[in-house]
């Protein structure tokens, strides 16, 4: 476990986050990488190594805020990085107009999550603007684009949207009914859930669907017990030692979380084989630099390192914080968020 602390900590040398490359770094996705590192450290109960105020400022510098004339409301949210070249500004004062500056739904989600992890009170988040930006991304079929300029649309972004609404405690950012229709429509003949209607059922999209419904508080309302049992069966069958993402595909560390968390949300994770799961995850550790990879003897990357830790947390591994299986942050961070919500609703102690 200490080695993984090292992996994530090295990411934070001198309180700065250095990126551990796994090929050309994807700068526009920087915020998601930062989320993996921060949440990973949180699960390792080691956020104290981070210079929180600096990171909070950096996250806020990624917020796309309304311009003076409010003409960009449908494009608000958070960017993944400063790759567009907008001048640095920590969400104080109106936004700078730029023809190509828009938020990205996954960055808005991870941006908010990072702020919550860092103990920020979200007071500098322009909630109305974020929600308007989110509304602009939803399609007729209930799914979401990533960016207002258009992109692919699938279950991943439905989940991001649900997380955003959940964290901001405001579901006006989406048409819930349409989103639910999209989710139900994506259930496959084999009872798993695909990225969209007709597509192959997949551990990642199944998580996104079930977790989104859970965050909406609609899981038991929208699926009958029979359907839930069928989804349980599909998920349970993913375990080979670790978990696979689709039938007849190799196992991969990250599915220990995607499928594991889904099973947890469906209350049957307790019936999986913890030992085999654990042994698999641990077999994918990198003994030199820490972190986890998708397979044994492969190179680690931030995503698999993070979900490896989360996978272990689900089975109750010692010295790890529990992870909230729907929101994908530590239980500690989740409780802090609930506290924030209580202050907003005026019901704080």
């Amino acid at each position: 476990m200490k080695l993984h602390l090292v992996y994530f900590t090295v990411l934070t040398l001198n309180s700065k986050l250095f990126f551990f490359g796994s090929g050309p770094p994807k700068r526009p996705l920087m915020l998601t990488i930062v989320f993996f590192a921060l949440s990973g450290l949180d699960v390792l109960d080691s956020l104290n190594v981070i210079d929180k105020p600096s990171l909070i400022e950096w996250v806020y510098s990624l917020q796309v805020i309304p311009t003076e004339d409010q003409s960009n409301l449908g494009r608000c949210g958070f960017r993944g990085s400063s790759h567009i070249g907008v001048p640095y500004s920590t969400s104080k004062g109106p936004g700078v107009s730029h023809p190509y500056d828009s938020g990205h739904v996954a960055m808005t989600y991870t941006g908010l999550a990072c702020l919550v992890l860092l103990g920020d009170d979200l007071s500098r988040v322009n909630k109305e603007a974020c929600l308007m930006g989110l509304k602009a991304l939803q399609l007729e079929d209930g799914s979401f684009y990533a960016v207002p300029e258009g992109s692919e649309n699938d279950m991943r972004f439905v989940y991001c949207a649900a997380c955003i609404c959940y964290m901001l405690d405001d579901w006006s950012g989406m048409d819930i009914k349409k989103a639910i229709d999209y989710i139900r429509g994506s259930m496959s003949y084999d009872n798993g859930i695909g990225q969209g209607a007709g597509l192959e059922s997949h551990g990642g999209s199944t998580f996104c669907a079930v977790a989104a419904l859970s965050l909406m508080g609609k899981l038991e309302e929208m699926f009958s017990q029979r359907e839930l049992n069928r989804i349980r069966r599909w998920c349970m069958m993913r375990q080979q030692n670790g978990f696979q993402g689709r039938p007849n595909k190799p196992v991969d560390t990250c599915y220990s979380f995607w499928v594991g968390a889904t099973l947890e949300l469906l209350d049957v994770f307790q019936y999986t084989n913890f030992e085999k799961n654990r042994n698999y995850i641990l077999s994918t550790q990198d003994r030199l630099v820490g972190g986890f990879a998708k397979w044994p003897d492969s190179h680690p990357d931030p995503l698999h390192a993070y979900f490896g830790i989360c996978g272990l947390s689900l089975i109750g591994e010692a010295n790890l914080r529990r992870v909230h299986p729907a929101l994908n942050v530590s239980q500690r961070a989740f409780e802090y968020l609930q506290h924030l919500h209580r202050t907003w609703r005026g019901t704080c102690t």
Binding site: D190, Q225, H299
Partner: protein, 399 residues
Amino acid sequence: MTSMSAITQTSDLTNKAALIPLATERPAYYRMSGIEETSNVSSEFQEERSEVEVEEEIGYEDPFRYVFYRDRKEWADLEPVPQDDGPNPVVKIAYSDKFTDVYDYFRALLKNDEKSDRALLLTAEAIELNAANYTVWHYRRVLLQALEKDLREEMRYITAIIEDQPKNYQVWHHRRMVVEWLNDPSEELEFIAEILSQDAKNYHAWQHRQWVIKEYKLWDSELEYVEQLLEEDVRNNSAWNQRHYIISHTTGYSDPAILNREVQYSLKQIKKAPHNESVWNYLKGILQDLGLSSHPGLLEQILELKETHCSPYLLGFLVDIYEDFLENTLEHHEEVLSKALELCELLAREKDTIRREYWSYVGRSLQTKYGSSDSSTTTSAPGIDPGSASVHQETPCSS
């Protein structure tokens, strides 16, 4: 594509660019040694001189050397825009000099929303350096339309990129946009088949394929293609999924002749390769909504297969048939329930031990739901509480 190394460092281009006005393109180097700070790079690389570098020093001339944008006369009118992470950047990535140069100019173009051929050319370079940058792709599409570029040429371009990076979301989305603009899907099925021949389960490829087929109504030859793939690998779950996709969107399964054809096809594949979750999922999938127990002869056929082609999937299927029976009929409950419980026990004890606890749970649930009223006090299917982090105890049945 590139080998995955745990640590990146600035390539020695940074140093080279300082020494020689015309920089040479080199791939960034990855090393497993310690972490390098991005500053103080120059001294570290003095020893690392390849033969080619030494040759250059001697005066070897190459007219096709790479030239930074900042050194190109035709770009002198544009002020490069660096990435701005504030006075005290907390997040640092070590990029090569080439990368920074290209993207500084990309940012400049973007800021001015320039529409020009030189911009289009630059997007290709930016994409080569990072094909996942969705802003570059979007800008490229804006340029393609504004400059009315040859979209056939763009198809050739995107074909090559996808061949090289078939698991990237942006490249497939771009291709979809170009196909839509051209309103021409004629190359798609063949192209996707080529990609699938390299990785028969590439999710992006299948997603694009389903879109093309639905959008342009190219259903006709797809079942044949699916059968070919299943011939090659009967365990290809993506192919089975496609089979269901095609049939449900064409003939459908309500015609008993079609349904029976599919059942027979599945049973045939089961006999060839009994340990195959995909075929069992398909079989169950096409029958479950009509009620597994309502199919005449199905139970008998499966029981027969059990003797010669058993698998955990077959046994699970039987449990599901029995459960469906219990749900829909009142007769023979005890007998059917006991058979179901016996199978759960067999699965737990011997045939699917990794799911031992799960099969025990299934047995208990069946017992609780269908057992006689004086049976055990064990709990039934647990409730779900979305608000809490985890529930490790089953909640009592409330009926």
